[in-house]
Amino acid sequence: MDDAKRIVITGIGLTAPNGNNLTEFREALLNCKSGVQHTEIRYMGKQVAGLCDFDEYKYQSKKLRRRGTRAGSISIYCANEAVADAKLDWNALDKSMVGVYLGITEHGNVETENEIYEMHQNQLDWKLWSPHHNPRTVANSPAGEVTLNLNITGPHYTLGSACAGGNVGIVQGVQQLILGEVDLALAGGVSESPQTFGIFAAFAAQGALAHHEDPTKASRPLDINRNGIAISEGGCIYVLERLSDAKKRGAKVYAEIVGYAINSDATDFVNPNGERQVECMHKAIKRAGITVSDIDIVNMHATGTGTGDVNESKAVRDAFAESSKTFINFTKGHIGHAMGAAGALELAGNIPSFEDGIVHPGMNVTELDPACVIKNLVINEPKLAGNVNYILNNSFGMLGINSAVIVKKYTP
């Protein structure tokens, strides 16, 4: 294929509840280090959540951090880390040809709740409503903050796609590069969800909020005793380029994005549809021009809910029934559910497998749910896979959005 149509990853910037760069994150995944802890949630008290501890002021002034949002702060950190990792000559770059595409599950809940809370604390004085509320809550806000911080004058927007957001952001970046709309994409996903009470309360109302006296054991996808989602924050932004451009500047290439698919269940607001998930994975594999047997690792979405995990386990079993060599893992046992960041973060956690040949395990499975038994499932201990050539990353979300992204080990 023409190098100008091949899209590659040349930089990765991330913050996860258990690591603030790819090296730390990968090590935590291999060593089953959790990033989930107890935290105080307004009105609800002690809950489990995945929280990040990156330095907010590494790339942003205190004043602009105060003016913006946590999602913006995470995005700015990840974008700067990705740009530095890609070793781009940022000052020489045509910023009008850089695009920022960030997947989000939601945005604005945190900021709106905070304003209402402040007003409530002050005898409902509506004049205390912040003038920053609108720029903080417009849906493009996290991506817009990145452009302000890095002087990017190309397009920016977020992709509202529930918990498929991280994958969808990547797909958007790939498509815009292929179309020639930009020469460089900062693409991925971001989440500030643990700052909002409403998301915790809603999952609790659904009976889908994880809890455990040891917070590091709260998120346990596929375990028979799983009891829901551990809500997390985080972000992961990739530098994406056409291979022709990456070659020209002698960039290190992490991987090539060779397949992707996004589809819709059209069946329910929250309950997933396994058949559509299988179709989504198969569409991505078809686009990549490979077969199911070529996929070495599948990262499951696996959130730790009762029906979600059972549905996806069946979908993965069905989708990869004809493959004997595909290893299956998941990431949310380590970091909880990083919502809009999940897809991009979880993909990043598996990319080092191209170099080390190891499949990181899904953690916290004490007793595997019989309904979640999958061939070649990697749990609790890393697995040496040898040569890894293709990784498929699943991310699904409410309202029945499914996404799969396939990355390939780079070969010139």
């Binding site: 002034s61 205190k62 004043k63 003016r67 402040e118 205390l128 003038p131």
Partner: protein
């Protein structure tokens, strides 16, 4: 009697935490001495209302230009 000058400085310190507010000239415009924009002044007005129940109508915003004018304008409201 409230120390209005210090009240304003405390608010500015919170709104613009990167700025050095230790040697401000009371007669020179705050915007000439500090990296403040119009949104920051809205924040100052908001904080005066939230912390001290002092209201500054929009037409009076220019009276917050210098520390001296702040003290002169706000002192009666704190009396």
């Amino acid at each position: 009697m409230a120390d209005v000058r210090q009240i304003v400085i405390d608010i500015i310190s919170d709104i613009a935490p990167d700025e050095d507010v230790t040697n401000l000239d009371d007669k020179i415009s705050l915007r000439e001495q500090l990296d403040l924009d119009s949104m920051d002044f809205l924040d100052i007005v908001m904080e005066l209302r939230k912390r001290h129940k002092v209201e500054v109508p929009q037409e009076d915003y220019p009276k917050l230009a210098t520390l001296e004018s702040c003290v002169s304008y706000l002192s009666p409201k704190f009396a």
